[in-house]
C-alpha cells in the first residue's frame, strides 16, 4: 500500500472551498484519503499546495501538431535538452516533442491536458501521440462541426439522429467531447471561401448558427460531461466581438442536466476584437466580459498572447491562409475529407506591433474583467497565442498590477489608447489562480466528478507544491515558482522534485462512450455507411480506433436522454 502524506502545506482547493488553509493531504494508492498510517512524508511547510493543474485547451497531439514539428525544424532547435537517466531527449519551443510536452507541463504542476482538436479521421494518430506523452492524463475533443453528416442532420432537423451520430463519433474516436471550429467556415474553405455566423453554407444549406445550436442540443441529449467547446466564427477579424456575443445568445435556451455551462468558447482573446480593420483595431474585452458576467450559460478560456515566435495551427483553414497572407512566411494546409481541415503557419507576436500589443492586452483584460473566476480558464491556446510554457508569465501578470505596468511600458504606446489593461487595478489571489488553472477547468470539463482538479477524499492523488509562500507578491518569484514546482505528484507518485522530472509514469486517456437507442443508431448507420461507401478513403470497418491505441483507458459512460 503506497501512502503519501503532504504535511503542513498551505492548500488551495477551490472545488472544496479550501482557500489557503494549512492542511495535510493524505494519499493512498493514488487517491486522496482521510488518513494514512505509514506514509512517505513530503514536507510542504509554508508552501503553496494545489491540486494538479487541468488544462482545458491545448494542442499537444495529432496530425497538426506533428506537421508543425516537421514543418518547423528551426523550432526544434530551441529547447534542446539531452536525455537524462529519467527523461528522453527534448526539443522544441512552440511545438515541443511529445516527451518535452509531458515533462514541461508536469514541471508547472499540471497533470491533465485536453487536446483541443482531433480530426476524427486522424484520431488514431492523435492517440498514438498521447500515448507517447509521459506523465499527463489526457483526452481529446473530436471536431464534429464541419462534418457532412452533422450538417445534413442539422439541415434536416433530426436532432436525435445527430445525437446518435455524435455518440458514434465519440466511440469511434475515443473522444471526450464536441469540438466546434469555425462551423461552416472550414467546409466553405474547401471552396476557397469563409463564412460568418448567419451566412448559409450553400453545399448543405445550413448556417453556422444552426450547426452550433444543433450540436449544443445533441450534446445535452447525450448528457456529455463537457459542454460543446466552440471556436467561434471569424477568429482574428477586427469587429468580431459582435459575432462572439451573438454565438453565446444562440445556446442560451439549451437546458442541461449537469451543473455546468452549455457552451465553452475557447481562446476568446481572438474573438474579442473591435474596430473595422487593423488600422482602427481595438479591444472589446469589456463587451465580452460584460456578457459573461451577466449570463451563466457560457464559460471562456482566454487564449492569451505570449510575446515571441510561435507556430499557429488550427482547423480554421481560411484563418491560417489569411495569416499567411499577412506574414508571407511558410504555410501549409490540409483537407480532412468529409470532416474538417487545417492550416499551420508560424507567427511572431511583437510588442512593437500595435495590433499584437492590443491582442496581448485583450487576453489579460478578459481574465481581469470577468468577475467570477469560475467562468474563465487560463490558456494560451498552445501554441497559437504562445506556448504553454508561458503560463507562469500570465499568472504573474494576473497577480501583479506592477508587473503589468512594467510589461506595458515595453509595448507599443497604442496600449494606452486602444486597450483597457492600464486602467484595470484588479489583482488575482492564489485561490483565484487555482480556480482558473484547475478548479474551473475540471468542473467545466465535468472531470471534477472523476477525481480531477480537487483534493477531496476520493480525488486523484495529483498535487502541485509550489516553492513560494502564499504571501509572495514579487511577480518574478511567482513566475519562477509556477514554472518549476517544488514537487509535482501524480497518482501519489512524485514525478517532479525541485524542478526536475524524477519519474515518468504513463498517463490515462479519458473518453466518453454515450449509449443511445439501437433503432436510432441503426437508422443513422444507413446514412453513415453510405458516406463510407461513396466518399471516405477508408472503409467503415477500418475507421474506429481500436482499444489497443488507448492502453490506459478511463471510460466515462453516458446514456442518451429521451
Amino acid at each position: 500500500m503506497a501512502e503519501v502524506l503532504i504535511r503542513n502545506g498551505v492548500v488551495y482547493d477551490p472545488l472544496n472551498g479550501v482557500k489557503g488553509e494549512k492542511k495535510d493531504i493524505c494519499i493512498r494508492d493514488g487517491k486522496v484519503v482521510e488518513s494514512v498510517k505509514n506514509p512517505k512524508v513530503i514536507d510542504a511547510e509554508g508552501r503553496v499546495v494545489m491540486p494538479g493543474g487541468v488544462d482545458i485547451h491545448s494542442h499537444i497531439a495529432g496530425g497538426k501538431v506533428n506537421s508543425g514539428r516537421l514543418f518547423r525544424p528551426e523550432d526544434g532547435r530551441k529547447g534542446l535538452e539531452a536525455k537524462t537517466k529519467v527523461c528522453r531527449m527534448q526539443s522544441g519551443y512552440s511545438v515541443p516533442n511529445t516527451f518535452a510536452i509531458g515533462y514541461r507541463y508536469a514541471k508547472m504542476g499540471y497533470t491533465f491536458v485536453m487536446e483541443a482538436a482531433m480530426p476524427p479521421l486522424a484520431a488514431r494518430h492523435t492517440h498514438e501521440e498521447m500515448v507517447d506523452i509521459p506523465i499527463l492524463d489526457n483526452a481529446a475533443l473530436p471536431l464534429i462541426d464541419n462534418n457532412w453528416m452533422t450538417m445534413e442532420y442539422v439541415n434536416s432537423g433530426d436532432m436525435d439522429l445527430l445525437a446518435a451520430y455524435v455518440a458514434w463519433i465519440m466511440k469511434a474516436t475515443k473522444g471526450f467531447g464536441v469540438k466546434i471550429v469555425n462551423p461552416g467556415g472550414t467546409e466553405m474553405w474547401g471552396w476557397g471561401k469563409n463564412c460568418s455566423l448567419n451566412d448559409t453554407v450553400p453545399t448543405f444549406d445550413v448556417t453556422p448558427a444552426e450547426i452550433i445550436k444543433g450540436l449544443g442540443v445533441a450534446n445535452e441529449k447525450l448528457d456529455m460531461p463537457h459542454s460543446i467547446h466552440v471556436h467561434t466564427n471569424m477568429l482574428g477579424h477586427p469587429g468580431n466581438f459582435e459575432i462572439t456575443k451573438e454565438t453565446y445568445d444562440l445556446v442560451k435556451g439549451i437546458k442541461t442536466s449537469k451543473d455546468r455551462q452549455v457552451m465553452h468558447t475557447t481562446h476568446t482573446q481572438f474573438h474579442s476584437y473591435g474596430g473595422t480593420n487593423w488600422g482602427d483595431f481595438e479591444s472589446k474585452a469589456d463587451a465580452i466580459a460584460g456578457y459573461i458576467n451577466q449570463n451563466d450559460h457560457a464559460t471562456i478560456d482566454i487564449g492569451s498572447i505570449i510575446l515571441g515566435d510561435t507556430t499557429t495551427m488550427t482547423a480554421d483553414g481560411p484563418m491560417e491562409y489569411n495569416l499567411y497572407q499577412i506574414t508571407g512566411r511558410k504555410w501549409t494546409n490540409h483537407d480532412v475529407e468529409l470532416e474538417t481541415g487545417s492550416g499551420i503557419t508560424p507567427f511572431l507576436y511583437s510588442g512593437k506591433s500595435p495590433v499584437n500589443t492590443i491582442q496581448w492586452a485583450i487576453g489579460v483584460e478578459l481574465a481581469l474583467l470577468v468577475k467570477d473566476p469560475w467562468k474563465i480558464a487560463l490558456t494560451t491556446d498552445h501554441p497559437n497565442a504562445g506556448p504553454f510554457i508561458g503560463y507562469p508569465i500570465l499568472i504573474s501578470m494576473l497577480m501583479s498590477k506592477k508587473r503589468r505596468e512594467e510589461s506595458s511600458a515595453d509595448m507599443h504606446k497604442v496600449i494606452y489608447d486602444r486597450a483597457l489593461l492600464p486602467s484595470i487595478d484588479r489583482e488575482y489571489d492564489l485561490n483565484e489562480i487555482a480556480i482558473i488553472t484547475r478548479g474551473m477547468t475540471a468542473k467545466a470539463l465535468g472531470l471534477h466528478e472523476h477525481g480531477k482538479g480537487h483534493l477531496g477524499v476520493g480525488a486523484d492523488g495529483d498535487v502541485a507544491i509550489y516553492d513560494m509562500s502564499p504571501e509572495e507578491t514579487d511577480a518574478g518569484k511567482i513566475q519562477k515558482a509556477f514554472l518549476n514546482t517544488k514537487y509535482t505528484i501524480k497518482d501519489g507518485q512524485v514525478v517532479v522534485k525541485d524542478g526536475e522530472v524524477v519519474a515518468t509514469p504513463d498517463g490515462k486517456t479519458y473518453f466518453v462512450t454515450p449509449e443511445c437507442d439501437d433503432k436510432l443508431t441503426d437508422e443513422m448507420m444507413v446514412k453513415l455507411k453510405d458516406k463510407f461507401d461513396h466518399y471516405y478513403s477508408v472503409t467503415y470497418n477500418n475507421y474506429a480506433v481500436q482499444d489497443a491505441y488507448v492502453p490506459n483507458p478511463y471510460e466515462i459512460k453516458t446514456q442518451m436522454r429521451g
Binding site: F71, E74, R329
Partner: protein, 261 residues
C-alpha cells in the same frame, strides 16, 4: 599570443566507420589562457560518445593569451571528418590544414578561419561576422540557414578559392561571399540582403531573391525568366547587364539586383 596546435590522432580517422568528431568546444573563446593539460581535458563529441580532446588530438601550446583575440588554433592531420570547426567563435584565429567536414564556421560572429582545403556542406551557416577563407571548394549550402530558418548569413566575409556547390547564401540577409570559381544551382536563393560575387559561371542565380546583390563574372546558365533588365553598368572596367528581381516574389518585394555579363 597563444598558439594551440591540435593534431588529430591517426586512430581517430583511420577506422572503417569514419566516426565524425565535433569540435565546437575548441574555439579561441573557449581555450583562451588554458594550459595544455586543461585543453586536453576539454570535452568533444566523437560520434555519440563524449571524449576528452587529449584522447583524440595531440595537443601542444605555445605562449599565453589574455583574450580570445590573441589565440590561434592550428588543426593538423586529416580533418575530413571533423565537424563544427569554429562553430560560434567570436574572436581569434583558426587554421585548418586539410579538408574539413560540415558546419565549419557556423554561427561565427568574429575572428578568422582559414581552411587549406575543401569545406563540406553548411560552411559559414548563419554566420554573423568575422572572416572565413576556404582555399579549396565549398560544398552545398555555403552560408545558408539551418533548415526552416528564415535567415542565413547576416554578416562577415567568406572567400572560396575554388568552386561552390548548390544554394550558396540561401536566405542570406547580409555580409559578403566571394567565390573565385563557379557556383552550382541557385546561388542566392531567397536572399534578402548582402552580396555574392561569383568569379566563374552560375546556374539560376538569385531565384526568389528580395534584396541584396549578386554578380556573376562568367556565364549564367538557365537565367531566371522573372528578372527584369534595367540597363547596363560598368564594374571594374567590364560591362554588365543589370537585372532586378525576383519578380516571382511580386513586384513590390523584388528589390534584388543581379549583374550578368
Amino acid at each position: 599570443m597563444q598558439t594551440i596546435k591540435l593534431k588529430i590522432k591517426d586512430n581517430v580517422t583511420s577506422g572503417v566507420a569514419k566516426i565524425p568528431v565535433e569540435v565546437d568546444s575548441l574555439t579561441p573563446d573557449n581555450l583562451v589562457g588554458k594550459s595544455e593539460a586543461e585543453i586536453k581535458a576539454v570535452k568533444v563529441w566523437w560520434g555519440n560518445k563524449e571524449e576528452s580532446t587529449g584522447d583524440l588530438f595531440d595537443v601542444s601550446v605555445d605562449g599565453t593569451a589574455g583574450s580570445a583575440d590573441e589565440v590561434k588554433i592550428v588543426l593538423d592531420g586529416d580533418l575530413s571528418r571533423v565537424k563544427r570547426i569554429g562553430d560560434g567563435m567570436t574572436a581569434g584565429e583558426i587554421e585548418a590544414n586539410s579538408n574539413v567536414d560540415m558546419h565549419c564556421g557556423a554561427m561565427m560572429s568574429g575572428g578568422k578561419i582559414t581552411v587549406k582545403g575543401n569545406a563540406d556542406c553548411w560552411a559559414g551557416r548563419e554566420m554573423h561576422g568575422g572572416e572565413l577563407v576556404i582555399e579549396g571548394d565549398a560544398a552545398a549550402n555555403l552560408c545558408a540557414m539551418y533548415r526552416g530558418e528564415d535567415k542565413g548569413m547576416t554578416g562577415g566575409k567568406v572567400t572560396v578559392g575554388g568552386n561552390a556547390d548548390e544554394c550558396v547564401g540561401q536566405y542570406m540577409a547580409g555580409g559578403e561571399i566571394v567565390i573565385k570559381g563557379n557556383a552550382r544551382m541557385l546561388a542566392g536563393l531567397n536572399m534578402s540582403g548582402g552580396k555574392i560575387v561569383i568569379g566563374g559561371d552560375a546556374v539560376m542565380p538569385g531565384a526568389d531573391m528580395t534584396k541584396g546583390e549578386i554578380t556573376v563574372k562568367g556565364t549564367v546558365q538557365d537565367m531566371m525568366p522573372s528578372f527584369k533588365l534595367e540597363g547596363t553598368e560598368s564594374i571594374d572596367g567590364a560591362e554588365y547587364k543589370k537585372y532586378s528581381g525576383d519578380l516571382a516574389m511580386t513586384a513590390r518585394k523584388a528589390k534584388g539586383t543581379l549583374y550578368v555579363k
